[in-house]
Symmetry: C2
Subunit: 401 residues, 2 copies
């Protein structure tokens, strides 16, 4: 089989851990597999480099940041290749550019446009284990680009697609996807299998095991994705396309996201297009708006509420302030969280949302915002009830058993 | 003027020092100069990465080492560009590849083959300060290469040549070239000017201010080279082509090199070509042989003596051991040093060598090997007399005044 492995920052966080990864890759090799291994920067490195840049300015140029931040993955790739060679394997380290990864020009948040897998294929044909520096590519002008946080997952999935790999295994310090965060609910259970769509909802809702864009891409390319731990031999969780028996499970997981802040714009003038203008401008600044609620105010003007990631609130404030000629007032609330239940079973079962609401009501937890999709129900509540709500929902949907 | 600056590892050894470099570059910019700035890795970084690699194997693959080691300069380049932008300048950081530096394929010791200066020229035309990661290029297969120790000096000089720059200023933690090492002889004086050839002899003899290959290239391209300190506003030393008035000075400097080891091969069979074979094989392993002396032994066989850098002795031993069917015995001596006097004035003045020998003889220092060129006299002596010999020669040639 041709396998793509990806090892995250914690898995390669020290020389001993890189040695450990080399042993794992070595074992897979000795089982007869062809291998491409994508690596992240050693844990802490990327943040260190960001701090370095922020020593000079809070807003360093993105092209410079990409040259800066892409260096960490190159170090890991070279070291892992050296470690494998020391074990007697033929290995070669490649940068994103050398692996043929061409992106658009959006520095620090580039999208992969094409992958020319020739160099990787040639190396594999020569019997080499290919090590690729994750998180990076090169744009048409020849400048290094990076793919945003968690971008090494995306590198791995895109490479798996370009090589028609049999599977893409994402290694981190957790051994799979759980029904909820075990630190909140010790009864949380590891899932053996989950659908792309469920995983997407789990990821975007705050489960940090897999980067969202990488799951989207795996779904699009129908790549078998495994979430595994580099510190154990557990099976991990397979993320794959939906199958009939998945629907027998009503709810697969409960996710708590505390990195949420709510923005409420009071009495937004009811001129058409104001909301569109606000959200367009937020999108241009790469601020992801999550839930949106619109109410009619007392004088006929509109109240507009939405949530953004807490760490993007300051930037969102700035964008909104440039619109204040059309807005009568605004509130910002960081003391909220979002708890969500996710499951493809919802498609064929009624009453899942109602059960969620009544579960929270039974403990007098006020639901401030609600958003639903075919396979999830999300509720914004006061932050202090987040863990309690998560545990109650986990029990209510029978995930404790 | 178009100036190329180069800042070494100590000059960019911390964020504060990068800030300091940004101020210096900024000042040169405000004086109206166009600028290309070549940077090394922050001091300690390259050694740290080498240690990392040696954690896995004493002999890591050179291609991997190049990917590993080239990352340090990229970090500095990006950070300096960010620091300059924070000061309101338009700056752009480039890797060796982006700066158009194409090398041969000798990983870890590549030679620059061509520089396509288009990207740098375009950036300069747009009013940008160009920051280039030193020490690195890319070979024709698209793999990153590095230029060997001190390679950033070479990057700077080669770029100065490709851009027809008016001068190339090499900044380090010393403010120029001295008549001898001031730690050995406090009366040592900074030279205002020195010829390329003198500098070449000084550099290859162990003066560590400028990398030898970079001086050779500066000579070939006739580039005005300045050795300056990034920690002072002193004038530094200009390294330039020889002029008539330079010859008025008999000796420009005295250099002590303690990184020397002597190899003596006893009774080498007098078959023609044995010596050639030994030195060819040493050269192939990139072991630089410095002084060579051949004597006839008692039985008509040849004694062959030569010196190598102390840190290359182990590798040299291995090479020589593969020849021992033709060699009756060998000695290795690390307790030697080489002291040399350098000066273009020797060309037109007789007796310089004789004065050196008699100076050492006056203190009963035995000279074990002698090598001379048109502009230098080198003597191998017992290591313990190194500093004494240096001071005596410094005084004998009137450099104390």
């Amino acid at each position: 089989m041709l396998l793509v492995h990806k090892y995250g920052g914690t898995s390669v966080g020290s020389l001993e851990r890189i040695e450990n990864v080399a042993s794992r890759v070595s074992k897979a090799r000795e089982e007869g597999h062809d291998l491409v291994v994508v690596v992240s920067a050693m844990s802490g490195e990327t943040n260190k480099l960001i701090e370095y840049a922020h020593h000079f300015t809070p807003n360093p140029a993105k092209q410079e940041m990409d040259m800066l931040l892409s260096s960490g993955e190159r170090v890991t790739a070279a070291l892992l290749s050296i470690a494998l060679q020391a074990k007697g394997h033929d290995a070669v380290a490649m940068t994103g550019r050398q692996a043929g990864i061409v992106t658009d020009t959006s520095h620090t948040y580039a999208r992969i446009e094409t992958i020319d897998p020739t160099a990787m294929q040639n190396a594999i044909k020569q019997g080499k284990i290919v090590i690729v520096a994750g998180f990076q590519g090169v744009n048409k002008e020849g400048n290094v680009t990076t793919l945003g946080r968690g971008g090494s997952d995306l590198s791995a999935v895109a490479i798996a697609g370009a090589l028609s790999a049999d599977a893409c295994e994402i290694y981190s310090d957790v051994d799979g996807i759980y029904t909820t965060d075990p630190r909140i609910e010790p009864k949380a259970k590891k899932l053996d299998i989950i659908s792309y769509d469920e995983m997407l909802e789990m990821a975007s809702l705050g489960a940090k095991v897999l980067q969202n864009r990488s799951v989207e891409l795996a779904k699009k390319l129908n790549i078998k994705l495994y979430a595994k731990s580099s510190f154990s031999d557990n099976n991990g969780t397979l993320i794959t396309k939906e199958s009939a028996n998945m629907e027998e499970v009503l709810v697969s997981g409960v996710v708590l996201d505390k990195n949420q802040a709510r923005v409420t714009l009071r009495n937004v003038s009811d001129k058409p297009g104001i909301a569109a203008e606000i959200f367009t401008k937020l999108a241009k600044e790469n601020i992801n708006v999550d839930m949106i609620i619109q109410n009619v105010g007392i004088d006929g003007a509109t109240h507009l509420g939405f949530t953004v990631a807490q760490n993007e609130l300051e930037r969102a404030k700035k964008v909104i302030e440039s619109f204040d000629h059309d807005i009568k007032g605004m509130d910002f609330d960081e003391n909220i969280c979002k708890v969500s239940v996710v499951g493809v079973g919802m498609r064929s079962h009624a009453g899942v949302a109602a059960q969620a609401f009544s579960t929270l009501a039974s403990s007098n937890i006020n639901i401030e915002m609600i958003a639903t999709s075919e396979i999830k129900v999300s509720m914004v509540i006061n932050e202090k009830y987040g863990e309690l709500a998560t545990r109650m929902l986990h029990e209510a949907y029978g995930l404790d058993n």
